[in-house]
Amino acid sequence: MLEPRQIQQLHSLLETQRVATDVATLQSHGLDWTRYYTPAPAAVVFPKTTEEVAALVRWATQEKVALVPSGGRTGLSGGAVATQGEVVVSFDRMNAILDFNPVDRTVRCQAGVVTAQLQDFAADQGLYYPVDFASSGSSQIGGNIATNAGGIKVVRYGMTREWVAGLKVVTGTGEVLELNQGLAKNNTGYDFRHLFIGSEGTLGFIVEATMQLTRPPAPLSVMVLAVPALAGIMEVFNAFRQRLDLTAFEFFSEKALRHVLARGQVQRPFEGESDYYVLLEFECVNSTTEETALSLFEECMEAGWLVDGVLSQSEEQARALWRLREDISESITPYRPYKNDIAVRVSAVPPFVEALDAVLAREYPDFEVVWFGHIGDGNLHINVLKPDALALDGFREACERVNAEVFALVRRFGGSMSAEHGVGLLKRDYLDVTRSPEDIALMRGVKAVFDPLGIMNPGKLLA
């Protein structure tokens, strides 16, 4: 907890109304999307400028107070969570788009700009910001960069990292750094920009970002395909990407689909059930694109990898089909899902899923396991739903045991225990599944350089 003196000091650094200590704000801004922690920050502050952020950091180093950077709080790993009297630094008020350069095709914006705001801004300029996911209406650019967010277009456009042309950051000592200045080429030694991308608020604050935009894609068509057996999925992926510019390749199970349909907002894509579905999206560059897609469908059908499928005939249908995939996360929220976000090499997906499915069915027959994910990136979201009969605590304990099994497999397959959601608090103790002891020791070394006093988001990512 902060002393009254320290609260006074915060008031002198920021306007009084931008220092919140009321219960509602402490509760709302002490948590991200994970619902496993009890928020207990000492205060939530809302800076408006880089200078204010730097002053807050200098204050925190003097007073030895821990700071938690907070963006849109849609994170899924407990990164923007304050459970031990930290001061939460929210970027809600740093949400201005500062500058647009049509020749560079870059936008300079404050870290609190919401992802959808950047997407819309780009569209208004006749351009495109391609990083997209179901939380883009709330997540912030700063949070996206701090987690190197991926999403539904990674197959084509890569992760957030690909789109960061420059950063302004405040380090854990209060230094302000300009990283890469929006340059396309800049081989002048270590690129700290890339260290801050994915650093989950543990090195410093991202206060501004220069984001790269691109030309918008041609009209997009969406297919939802019925895939009876796992092994077929990657064959379909291979066949389609050989001849089409895929912008998305997603997968979900019949169980996942049922949860979406149960909400009564969208209809089943076609009659008949299939164990697995693939949603793929491609640019319809010209009239031959659709011909190509159709002949690919035919070939995959003849090979027995596919049994049925639909093709969107309008943007409206494309959106409705996307909802079959994008609404999954929300539709299972009431079941308190225990989420794993793992990645293996694309080629290893079918054997991995098969092995894991067998383990789960054997060890946890009463748990409903919902699969979906960005399978074109080898990225699977595994959601274990809480059975009604089980209390939350008992469920969590059981899930930690499931975790051990999941992660043993991830290790065996040389995969990642967090593909795109980051590590935060939730996955911190499993870091060694993917990173070697030497790796982790060097990460600590890097953290000590930027944040020698350990005030930046302590306890997240590294114990």
């Binding site: 395909l225 209809q267 035919e298 499928g309 639909v310 093709l311 005939q313 309008s314 943007e315 409206e316």
Partner: protein
């Protein structure tokens, strides 16, 4: 019973259209085009009538440029049996479309014509009514339910006060409203099968219809930009603003 449905190729509902620099029209170059959503509903209704054993044949008709073939292929993939394209690069206004449809009806002799209540590009809401007048047939507009019998059709219409059901003697014209049905997705195998279904072409000249526009567009303008919201400090201030500035109280 033969059913005729009209389908129009329009700028996709989700496209944010831009006005051409000279204000003559909206710019449709490189813009996603789709079937008019109300026509999708018309096709769906016809297919359901066929699936229920009430319709025997569905003929889809489109009027316009060559690319309308794509729209017709969609209708065929949804379940229409045959398609007719009345091909022309001319601008088509509702009266011309109604006249063309009248000629197609004369050739095809359907008992029921289903069209959308409006097309989402020009929002005219005229074609169905004009067609029924030209044919001298009964009309049931804004249908939210269609009950087809041998010699008549009951059409439930969405009107201001609620629902109204009218009984029309066949042959008749029905226009579709949003709640009539939820169109199905188009299955890929059906898209392939649709390529083999017949698509005949004709022209306004062949049908003996003069499609010269009767109306002239003077100017197309962007809608006024919405001004940003303001925060008020109190209920009193809100009421004052609603009274004095918005003038809604």
């Amino acid at each position: 019973m033969k059913v005729l449905v009209a389908v129009k190729r329009v700028v996709d509902y989700n496209v944010k259209v831009r006005v051409k620099a000279d204000g003559s029209d909206v710019d449709i170059a490189n813009v996603k085009m789709s079937m008019n959503p109300f026509d999708e509903i018309a096709v769906e209704e016809a297919v359901r009538l066929k699936e229920a054993g009430k319709a025997t044949e569905i003929v889809a008709v489109s009027m316009g440029v060559k690319q309308c073939e794509e729209t017709l292929r969609t209708a065929l993939a949804m379940g229409a049996d045959r398609a007719i394209l009345v091909e022309t690069d001319a601008e088509l206004q509702p009266l011309a479309v109604a006249k063309l449809l009248k000629e197609v009806v004369a050739k095809e002799q359907p008992q029921l014509v289903i069209v959308g209540k409006q097309a989402i590009d020009d929002d005219s809401n005229q074609t169905g009514q004009m067609l029924s007048a030209l044919l001298g047939w009964a009309q049931g507009t804004f249908a939210s339910k269609v009950d087809l019998a041998d010699a008549s059709v009951d059409v439930t219409r969405e009107v201001d006060g609620g629902l109204e059901t009218v009984k029309l003697k066949l042959p008749a014209v029905v226009t579709t409203d949003l709640r009539l049905n939820e169109p199905r997705y188009v299955k890929l195998p059906n898209i392939m099968a649709a390529k083999k279904k017949p698509l005949d072409k004709t022209t306004p000249a062949d049908l003996g219809v003069d499609v010269t526009p009767r109306l002239k567009t003077l100017k197309v303008a962007e809608p006024a930009k919405r001004s940003a919201g303001v925060k008020v400090a109190s209920a009193a201030e809100l009421v004052a603003k609603l009274k004095n500035e918005a003038k809604v109280l």
